[in-house]
Amino acid sequence: MSSADTEEQEQQDAAVENDAAAEANAVRQEILDQLKAALGDAVVGEHIQGGDLWVRVNATDWRRAAEACKNAGFVYFDFLSGLDWMPSAPNPEDAETLSVEPEADADEAPDPEEAAEAEAEHEAEPQPSEAGTVAAFETAGGEPDSGWVTGVAGGETRFQVFARFHSPRRHIGVTVKADLDDESPAVASIHDIFYGAEWHERETWEMYGFVFEGHPDLRHIYLPGEFEGFPLRKDFPLLAREVKPWPGLVDVEDLPPAEEARQDAAINAAQEAEAGEGGS
C-alpha cells in the first residue's frame, strides 16, 4: 500500500470522525434550544464541546432549570456539587521547585548535546499557572470578576453550583450551572424533583457552605456535627500542606537522560513496528 493511500484513508477516517462529532453536537444544540424555549431568559450561558453540553442559568431559576431538564428526558440524577473559582496556590513551593533547573542532571549527562536539548525542552514547557493566577488574584484585590478564570459556560461570581442530569434513553447528559452570591451563597433545593439531590445538597452545604432553601434536613453528612468551616472552599487551608510541602513533587522531575532515551526508543520501535504492520 502506498503512502498516498494511507493518507487518503486517514483523511476519510478524520472526515467520518468529524461528521460523527458534528452530529453529536447538533443533537446537543437541539436539546439546548429545547431548554432555552422552556426557560427563556433564565439561560445566561451555554457551551457545546466534544459531545457534551453545559448550560448556565440564573440562580433564581435553578429549580425551573431542574424541572425543565427532567421534562426534557434527563430523568437520571448524576450529581450535584459546587465550584469555587478563587485561584488557589495550595502548595506555593510548586512553582519554585519547578523553575529550578535540575543542574545535577546536566552534570551527570554523558552527552552534553542531549543534556542541552533536554534543558531546552524543559524551558520551552510553560511554567505552571499557579504563580500567574496567584499574582492575578493579588492584584485583583479579591474582586471576583477581574482576572478569575471561571470555566466553560462562563460565570460572574466566585461560587457556582452545578449539577449533572442524564438521559438513560438518549444517552446524553447535561451539566447545569448557576452563579451564586459571594457573601451568602444560597439556591433553591431540588430534592423533591431529583430525590438523590438530598444527600448531594447536604454534602455541598457542608463542603462549600451553600444554603439550599427548602431542604428538609440540612445537616452534616460526612463531617462531625461540630465541624466549622467549609473544607472545599479554596481559602480553607489543608493543614497537612501548611505543615510540610508535598514531598511527591519530585515525581515530576525529568528522568535521567539515559533512561528517557531508552524509553523513547522503546516507544518509537513499537510504533514503527505497528506502522509497518499496518502498511504491508
Binding site: 466534544g50 459531545g51 457534551d52 453545559w54 430523568v75 437520571y76 440524577f77 448524576d78 450529581f79 456539587s81 465550584l83 469555587d84 488557589s88 495550595p90 502548595n91 510548586d94 519547578l98 514547557e125 510553560p126 505552571p128 499557572s129 499557579e130 493566577t133 478564570v149 470555566g151 466553560v152 449533572r164 438513560p168 444517552h171 451539566t175 423533591d192 424533583i193 431529583f194 430525590y195 438523590g196 438530598e198 444527600w199 463542603m207 452534616h220 453528612i221 460526612y222 463531617l223 462531625p224 473544607p231 472545599l232 489543608l238 508535598w246 511527591g248 513533587l249 515525581d251 515530576v252 525529568d254 528522568l255 528517557e260 516507544i267 513499537a270 510504533q271 513496528a273 505497528e274 504492520e277
Partner: protein
C-alpha cells in the same frame, strides 16, 4: 409535594411509636441501631431505624466514618499521583476506579491510548468487576445466613486476584493505569492462565446459581423485598445492576463511545423487571458470567503494538472541563475534572456509585421488617470507601 399514603402512614406510626415510648414504656426511644460496626454494613456504615414492633417506620443512614477528603486532596496532587488516591475509593475493584479518571484527563489532553492498551485496560476492568461481584455473590449469601457461598467466593476470587497481581504487581491496588497507556505489558503465559481462570468463574456462577439462587430460604428472603420502581431509582441516581434490576436497559459500557474495547465485543446487557433484592442478585450473577465471556473475547482479539502513547514527561492538562463516567462494578462512576492548565486538577468532583445507591435507603427501608433491612443492605451492595470517598 403531595404527601403519599405511605408517608402519611409512616408519620402516624411514628407518632404512635413516640407515644408508646414516652408514655407506656417509659423508655427514651425505640431505635434500632445497626452499625457502624456490624457485619451486614461491610464496613462502617450506621443505619438508625425507628421501629414500630418489627416494622421500620423511619430510617436514617449515617455515613462519613471513613471520609478521607479525596476531592480536597486531588487539588494538591499531580495527575499521575491521583490514581493512587482513586484506587482506594472502591477497594474491591480498584483498577476500575482509575480508568474513568485517566480517560477524563486524556479527554482534556486530546490523546488516546493505543489499541493494545485499550484492550488491556478493558480486560483488567472486567477482571476487577468479576473479583468484586464474586465477593458480592458470596456475602449476600452470608448476610442471609448461608455460610458456604462466602467461602466459595473467597476461594474463586483469589484466582482473579492472582491474575491481576501477575500483571500489575498489586492484588488490591494496582495503580497501573497511566495517562496515554499503561505501566507495563502483559506477562508471558498470562493469557492462557486467565482463560483457565475464566472457565472457573463460569463454574462458580453455575455452582452458586444452584446452591444459592435455587435455595428456597434465599428466595423467600429476597423475593419481593426492597422493591424499587424504575422512576424512583432514576431520580435517586441509582445505577449499575441496581437500576437494571428495575428494568432499565442502560449500561454505560454499551451506551457511550469510549476509547475502550467494549464496542468491539459481542455481549448482552441483562435486566430484570422485578426491582427486588432477588432481581439485583440475579442481574449481578448474570453480569459476572457475561464479564468472563467478554474477557475471553478480548484475550482472543488482543491487538499487537505499543501500550503507551507519546505523552510529555511532565503532564500538564490543558484548561477545560471534562466529565467521563463508566459502568463500574457498583454502578456509574464518574469524574468531573476542572483543569486550569496546571500539574493537578483545579477541582475534581468524584461521583461514586455507592453514595447514590445508599441514599435511597431511607426511602426503601420505610415500612419493611427488621430482617429485611439486612437483605436490602446486602442486595443494594455498597463499598464503604465508595460512599465516603
Amino acid at each position: 409535594m403531595a404527601v403519599t399514603e405511605q408517608q402519611r402512614r409512616a408519620y402516624v406510626a411514628a407518632q404512635a411509636a413516640d407515644a408508646r415510648v414516652n408514655v407506656e414504656l417509659q423508655t427514651e426511644d425505640m431505635v434500632l441501631n445497626i452499625g457502624p460496626q456490624h457485619p451486614a454494613t461491610h464496613g462502617t456504615l450506621r443505619v438508625v431505624a425507628r421501629l414500630d414492633g418489627e416494622q421500620v417506620v423511619w430510617a436514617d443512614v449515617v455515613c462519613g466514618y471513613m471520609h478521607r477528603g479525596y476531592e480536597k486532596l486531588t487539588e494538591v496532587r499531580t495527575y499521575p499521583q491521583i490514581t493512587t488516591l482513586v484506587n482506594r475509593i472502591d477497594w474491591l475493584s480498584s483498577f476500575a476506579n482509575e480508568v474513568p479518571f485517566i480517560l477524563a484527563a486524556e479527554k482534556l489532553m486530546e490523546i488516546e491510548a493505543p489499541p493494545r492498551a485499550q484492550y488491556i485496560r478493558t480486560i483488567l476492568f472486567e477482571l476487577a468487576r468479576i473479583a468484586n461481584i464474586t465477593l458480592f455473590i458470596g456475602t449476600m449469601g452470608a448476610d442471609l445466613g448461608a455460610i458456604t457461598p462466602v467461602f466459595y467466593a473467597f476461594r474463586d476470587r483469589e484466582r482473579i486476584l492472582n491474575q491481576i497481581e501477575a500483571v500489575t504487581g498489586g492484588r488490591f491496588h494496582p495503580n497501573f493505569d497511566r495517562i496515554g497507556g499503561l505501566k507495563d505489558d502483559l506477562p508471558r503465559g498470562w493469557i492462557d492462565e486467565t482463560k483457565n481462570a475464566m472457565v472457573r468463574v463460569r463454574e462458580f456462577c453455575d455452582e452458586l446459581e444452584e446452591l444459592l439462587m435455587g435455595n428456597e430460604i434465599f428466595q423467600a428472603r429476597a423475593r419481593g423485598i426492597g422493591v424499587i420502581p424504575a422512576d424512583v431509582g432514576l431520580a435517586y441516581g441509582l445505577s449499575g445492576a441496581n437500576i437494571r434490576a428495575s428494568g432499565i436497559d442502560w449500561d454505560l459500557r454499551r451506551d457511550q463511545d469510549l476509547p475502550l474495547a467494549w464496542k468491539d465485543l459481542d455481549w448482552k446487557v441483562w435486566t430484570h423487571p422485578d426491582g427486588d433484592s432477588f432481581a439485583r442478585f440475579w442481574v449481578r450473577l448474570q453480569e459476572t458470567r457475561e464479564a468472563s465471556k467478554m474477557v475471553d473475547q478480548m484475550l482472543d482479539g488482543l491487538p499487537a503494538g505499543s501500550i503507551q502513547a507519546k505523552v510529555p514527561r511532565i503532564i500538564k492538562v490543558p484548561a477545560g472541563e471534562a466529565w467521563v463516567h463508566t459502568e463500574n462494578p457498583l454502578g456509574e462512576m464518574g469524574y468531573y475534572i476542572v483543569s486550569q492548565g496546571g500539574l493537578g486538577p483545579f477541582r475534581c468532583k468524584i461521583r461514586s456509585a455507592s453514595f447514590n445507591n445508599v441514599s435511597i435507603l431511607p426511602w426503601v427501608l420505610r415500612g419493611t421488617y427488621v430482617p429485611d433491612i439486612i437483605t436490602i443492605l446486602a442486595s443494594l451492595y455498597f463499598i464503604l470507601g465508595d460512599i465516603d470517598r
